[in-house]
């Protein structure tokens, strides 16, 4: 029963007061692995990224298809990129609420007392969430395919568009991670994020052509980074081209990172 191994006394131990980059990466990957085990344990965590692509593609395509594009087949090249962007933006919000929930749990105190990289739990959460974006992206394209969407750009363009949209979602998730770190409760993160999310995802060119909108709204839709992301995806999958919107999306993502990585990390380190 007893562990007979004697403990090495404290004064004889060699301890170091810094964490190496290698350890930081290892710790972050372990934390990401922990996130994935949790998903396997509670697959309902994936509810949003599974239901939303399926439901929204069906709903919006048959609801608006005839009115906006004449028929469903013509509407698919417009709506699939729109729904893809919307789904993935919604999916990135969960990062914040889950982070908040996690930080409120007792196990977080243990992480804080372990000699690990401080940033690992945050980094791990952000890495693990990439799986969610991959699922959402894959499902949206699959639904499109089932409904008859045959993108002109071919498989490579779909892969490129997927990478773009996943990378963008990852950048965006830093915003919500920031709310997650500073907020008091998971539900306040949720509420806060929705205020940002709804205008961004609906006041875009996702569902309707911009020229049907009143002028003041057109202005917002045109500066909305999500619109640029959607246009970039449409260019890629429908024409196989990389246009100015592609680069604008990437710049947009980088700007978000430049602002929110330092903010989030600083706020997080203060609490961790």
């Amino acid at each position: 029963m007893a562990t007979s191994t004697m403990i090495i006394p404290g004064e004889k131990r060699v301890v170091k007061n810094h964490t190496s980059l290698k350890q930081t990466i290892q710790n972050s990957l372990t934390m990401a692995g922990r996130g994935l085990i949790k998903v396997r344990r509670n697959p309902e965590q994936l509810f949003d990224v599974i239901i939303q692509p399926i439901l929204f593609t069906l709903m919006f395509t048959y609801l608006f298809g005839g009115a906006i594009a004449g028929n469903v087949a013509n509407y698919l090249p417009i709506i699939i990129p729109g729904i893809l962007a919307q789904t993935i933006v919604t999916a990135s919000v969960v990062t914040g609420t889950q982070l908040r929930e996690d930080m409120d749990k007792g196990v977080f105190d243990r992480f804080k007392s372990l000699p690990i990289a401080r940033i690992a739990p945050l980094a791990g959460a952000l890495i693990a969430d990439i799986v969610r974006y991959v699922i959402a992206t894959g499902l949206t394209f699959c639904m499109g395919y089932i409904m008859g969407f045959r993108p002109e750009g071919g498989i490579l363009s779909i892969l490129a568009a997927s990478l773009l949209v996943i990378a963008f979602a990852w950048c965006l998730s830093w915003i919500f991670a920031f709310f997650g770190v500073i907020a008091r409760s998971a539900s306040s993160v949720q509420g806060f994020s929705m205020i940002i999310l709804f205008p961004l995802s609906f006041l875009s060119n996702a569902f309707v052509p911009v020229n049907t909108l009143p002028e003041w709204l057109q202005w917002f839709v045109n500066v909305n980074p999500i619109s640029h992301l959607i246009t970039a995806i449409r260019d890629l999958v429908n024409n196989g081209t990389i246009g100015v919107d592609f680069w604008l999306s990437i710049v947009g993502g980088l700007v978000i990172l430049a602002i929110f990585v330092p903010l989030t990390v600083r706020a997080y380190m203060r609490k961790a």
């Binding site: 029963m1 007893a2 562990t3 007979s4 191994t5 004697m6 403990i7 090495i8 006394p9 404290g10 004064e11 004889k12 131990r13 301890v15 170091k16 007061n17 810094h18 964490t19 350890q23 290892q26 710790n27 372990t30 934390m31 692995g33 922990r34 085990i37 949790k38 344990r41 509670n42 749990k105 007792g106 196990v107 977080f108 105190d109 243990r110 992480f111 804080k112 007392s113 372990l114 000699p115 690990i116 690992a120």
Partner: protein, 320 residues
């Protein structure tokens, strides 16, 4: 040879939450290889103290060193020397026992197979093998506590913090926990444990610090503490509750000790020398304070606590 370093050295440690002086100028010295008990009622500042020593919270003032490493400036070094079992479970509810331990092992730098082996060994040692794969939601309080302690031992830390390790455990489980704690010290660890039960501190600890409202009110070996309280307590039931202050003054004058009055008509005083009681009774007779009942009680554990902190310790039962 390196000269022996104290496991913990705390000087003038303070933590205020607004006006609430949770920890107010605490000094502690814990030599290597002992069980050190920190005893105090609810809200005394036990958890706050541990949190600062375990680098979970930054002190507002003062310094704390673990094996000579400063808990603020060398936090990461300190974390390599400690294991922490907090007051509330710090394992992941959504994962199984073995998954929890493996993740902690990986974070501590063990390889996949090493962490598996270590987890299996610890689960076996703590009698949790059967439940290893079950989700924690189905664990009893005692099982959770044991898993929590197991998780703190993965790195075989030389210093272990246990915050109320037996609160809420049944007597048998508590005894097992005590055995485990004694075994850890035999293997060379140093343990700082907090408790609300004087009996526990008495049974386990080599030294005890009694804290109340953020201050150390007494420190010493269990025997020293008991002696300082007095061998027994004199209990006087007074007929007229209005004269209680007068009675207290009389006792102070004759016996030279401070008194408590836990009930309106009851006054208690530590009794060091039974001979002086006759003097006291005579003095009462002189001033005309009538007594309903006089009794002498050996110090119950609660009484020692009460005498030191001015609070009864029975509140503990209400808490989780």
């Amino acid at each position: 040879m390196t000269k022996p370093v104290n496991a913990i050295e705390v000087k003038g440690l303070k933590k205020y939450f607004g006006d609430n002086k949770a920890v107010d100028d605490i000094d502690l010295t814990v030599p290597s290889g002992v069980i050190y008990g920190v005893l105090g009622p609810n809200g005394a500042g036990k958890t706050t103290t541990i949190n600062m020593l375990a680098t979970l919270m930054k002190p507002d003032a003062g310094s704390a060193k673990v094996f000579g490493h400063d808990v603020v400036k060398e936090a990461n070094a300190v974390r390599q020397l400690i294991g922490v079992t907090g007051q509330y479970a710090s394992v992941d509810e959504k994962l199984s026992a073995i998954e929890n331990l493996v993740i902690f092992g990986r974070l501590l730098g063990l390889s996949r197979s090493e962490s598996k082996a270590k987890a299996t060994e610890l689960l076996e040692e703590f009698g949790l093998t059967e439940a290893a794969k079950r989700p924690l939601a189905k664990f009893s309080g005692g099982m959770r506590r044991r898993l929590d302690l197991a998780a703190s031992l993965i790195a075989q830390p030389p210093l272990i913090f246990l915050d109320e390790p037996t609160t809420g455990l049944d007597p048998r489980t508590r005894n097992r926990m005590w055995d485990t704690i004694r075994r850890l010290v035999k293997n060379g660890s140093t343990i700082l444990l907090t408790t609300q039960y004087l009996e526990e501190a008495d049974q386990l600890a080599d030294r005890i610090a009694v804290i109340d409202r953020g201050k150390v009110v007494a420190e010493g070996t269990p025997n020293e503490l008991k002696k300082s309280i007095g061998a027994a307590t004199l209990q006087l039931h007074i007929s007229d509750a209005k004269r209680i202050t007068e009675a207290a003054q009389t006792i102070k004058k004759v016996l030279g000790v401070d008194t408590q009055n836990p009930e309106p008509k009851l006054i208690t005083a530590p009794m060091r020398d039974p001979d002086t009681v006759t003097d006291l009774l005579v003095a009462f007779k002189e001033v005309g304070i009538k007594l309903d009942e006089v009794s002498v009680q050996k110090p119950s554990l609660d009484e020692v606590f009460f005498a030191l902190t001015g609070k009864t310790n029975s509140a503990k039962k209400g808490k989780k």
